[in-house]
């Protein structure tokens, strides 16, 4: 971190006028933001790493023995925790696949000219803007409830027994809920990706007699890859951190059926006060997420760098 020494590389033919009063250098403008982020993200994270090596429970704050990697060992050997890891992956993966399919279809549909297109496009983002906890409470009570929920009424109207969605298919219900939230994100990013596709490429393919499928496979899809990558990486990172939706609907249950890593850490830290174990799980989540983030950052830097060049 030697930004402080870095000088402007821009060529100024005329030397800067003599400064009076406080002299602002570019580096002095960057440091406050850097320091703030270091203090509020890096420092607490290193403290999390530190706590993870101790047996530390707030119920008995006086004894805090160093136990090395025992917290990690406990986390990784308890079969129940493998279920939580699996839940995290199923929840993020399932939602990601559904939002890509539905969002992709919506993007293709919205990329046509029709009456009310601008309005639909604008309204479509709505479910993404809803506070996650509102989503959870509304879905849980008014849609999924087996007694008075709207879905129960629909299945009864078709002569079926009402389904206790959150009780019998908890993971599926949570995935449905979060898919509802994130599909607009996928659809709008993918739509923006589609719109930069030049019309003449498709026309040329049509003149060459390409079928719609060939057109999609050889022209649309390659052009779409960057937008798809952005959706996959942004969503994966966000979906690995899903918390409010679970807190507001299933509270991780029944049992641990919908407990993912963030909810597990919340329970360990704020219900059991097991700071050591929660910290170790936090460290693992960060490592897990960062592996993905590295790819995302590389992608974003590459595209913004190339945008500037072009």
């Amino acid at each position: 971190m030697t930004t402080a020494q870095s000088l402007p590389t821009t060529t100024t033919r005329v030397p800067p006028a003599p400064k009076r009063g406080i002299r602002l250098t570019p580096a002095a403008l960057i440091w406050p933001a850097m320091l703030y982020l270091i203090l509020t993200t890096q420092v607490p994270f290193f403290m999390t790493v530190y706590y993870s090596f101790f047996r530390y429970n707030l119920v008995d704050p006086t004894s805090r023995p160093f136990i090395g990697l025992e917290n990690y060992q406990n986390l990784l050997t308890d079969p129940q925790n493998l279920r939580i890891l699996l839940n995290t992956v199923v929840l993020a993966g399932g939602t990601l696949i559904l939002t890509l399919i539905i969002g992709g279809a919506l993007a293709l549909l919205l990329n046509r000219n029709f009456l009310g297109r601008a309005l639909l496009r604008t309204l479509l983002i709505s479910s993404f803007l809803v506070m996650p906890i509102v989503t959870a409470v509304i879905w849980k009570n008014m849609l999924l409830s087996p007694t008075s929920g709207l879905f129960a009424w629909v299945s009864q109207s078709f002569g079926q027994a009402p389904v206790d969605w959150l009780g019998q298919h908890p993971m599926l219900s949570v995935i449905m809920m979060i898919t509802w939230e994130w599909t607009p994100f996928a659809a709008l990013i993918l739509l923006t990706g589609l719109q930069s596709l030049p019309d003449d490429q498709i026309e040329a393919a049509r003149l060459d007699g390409a079928s719609p499928w060939q057109e999609f496979q050889h022209i649309v899809l390659p052009h779409w890859m960057q937008a798809i990558q952005v959706v996959v990486l942004m969503e994966t990172i966000a979906l690995l951190q899903v918390y409010g939706e679970i807190y507001g609907s299933t509270s991780g249950g029944p049992g641990i059926a919908t407990t993912n890593l963030p909810y597990f850490i919340y329970q360990k830290a704020f219900a059991e006060y097991n700071i050591g174990l929660a910290s170790a799980a936090g460290v693992l989540t960060v490592i897990f997420t960062n592996i993905l983030a590295v790819y995302l950052l590389r992608l974003i830097s590459r595209t913004t760098a190339s945008n500037r060049g072009g």
Binding site: L24, L106, L124, V134, V137, W153, G244
Partner: protein, 281 residues
């Protein structure tokens, strides 16, 4: 003109396919909007109507639910407003100069600094919550608005730097060069050129930051309880309502969601750019 009959059948088929596809688009969009429409409808029903099976679609709208929700809604609204506005302001105070310096005085490290700032956004909150909770407890920041503002600023600062850097990079460099020739200082360049010329970008970024802070749940639930509880905590209290207060819950939820919806519809295009950190424009 000999191909007219053939092209007419093709265009007829095209037209029908187009109509069907448009209908399908409307149907999917309606399905996505329906839960929200249902929530808003329930906000205007009596409790009995909101809970009734079969569901009530036609009713005389009433405003009682809003009236009953208000006494508990207003303090939470106040907290949400202060936390969202305060953190957005702080993020801009810290982030605008940094974005300016990185855009106008790009060193070899600029891209690295930008990427590093963005990377802090991908730090899962659960990776920092435990020490933050203990620190906040020791510093008396638990359940206070300054505490919440501190964390929301952390969340929004990388976004502000990244977005504003992207907008400020679009200002033609010749304008800065001309100012330098006239002997403008760094501060004059910042306040005289960069800020006024990136006002639309500032507005769009501020809107995004406000929405993110308004909708935040994790820090709100774990760092506040009563005094500083924002709207997310207030709505969370309805999670076990079991059909008792559905109409009132709907009214509270509608009041909570509506401002964000309206702002989001207005800024929809900028939203897409911001959500992908400028990777998709």
């Amino acid at each position: 003109m000999t191909t007219v009959p053939a092209s007419r059948t093709v265009s007829d088929r095209h037209r029908w396919r187009n109509i069907l596809l448009t209908l399908l688009t409307y149907l999917i969009a309606l399905a996505f909007l329906f839960p929200l429409v249902w929530m808003i409808l329930n906000a205007f029903k009596t409790e009995a109507q909101a809970f009734a099976t079969p569901p009530v679609f036609f009713f005389t709208p009433i405003l009682d639910n809003f009236q009953r929700a208000l006494p508990t809604y207003l303090p939470a609204l106040r907290n949400s407003l202060i936390a969202a506005l305060g953190s957005t302001l702080l993020a801009f105070i810290l982030g605008l100069p940094a974005a300016f310096a990185l855009a106008v005085y790009p060193t070899r490290r600029a891209q690295g600094v930008l990427t590093w700032m963005l990377s802090t956004k991908f730090m899962p909150a659960v990776g920092v919550i435990v020490p933050l909770f203990l620190l906040f407890r020791n510093l008396g920041l638990l359940d206070t608005l300054p505490g919440l503002i501190l964390m929301y600023t952390t969340m929004n600062l990388p976004l502000v730097v990244w977005m504003m850097h992207s907008y400020m990079s679009e200002i033609p460099f010749a304008i800065y060069e001309a100012a330098k020739v006239d002997g403008a200082s760094v501060a004059q360049e910042f306040f005289g050129i960069a800020l006024p010329l990136s006002m639309p970008g500032i507005a769009a970024t501020a809107l995004l930051a406000l929405i993110f802070a308004w909708n935040e749940v994790f820090f709100a639930l774990n760092l506040t309880s009563a005094d500083a509880a924002p709207l997310s905590v207030f709505i969370g209290e309805f999670k076990t309502s079991q059909g008792l207060f559905w109409a009132q819950l709907s009214a509270a939820a509608t009041l909570t969601v509506l401002p964000v919806l309206v702002f989001g519809w207005i800024a929809q295009r900028q939203l897409v750019r911001g959500l992908s950190f400028g990777a998709v424009k």
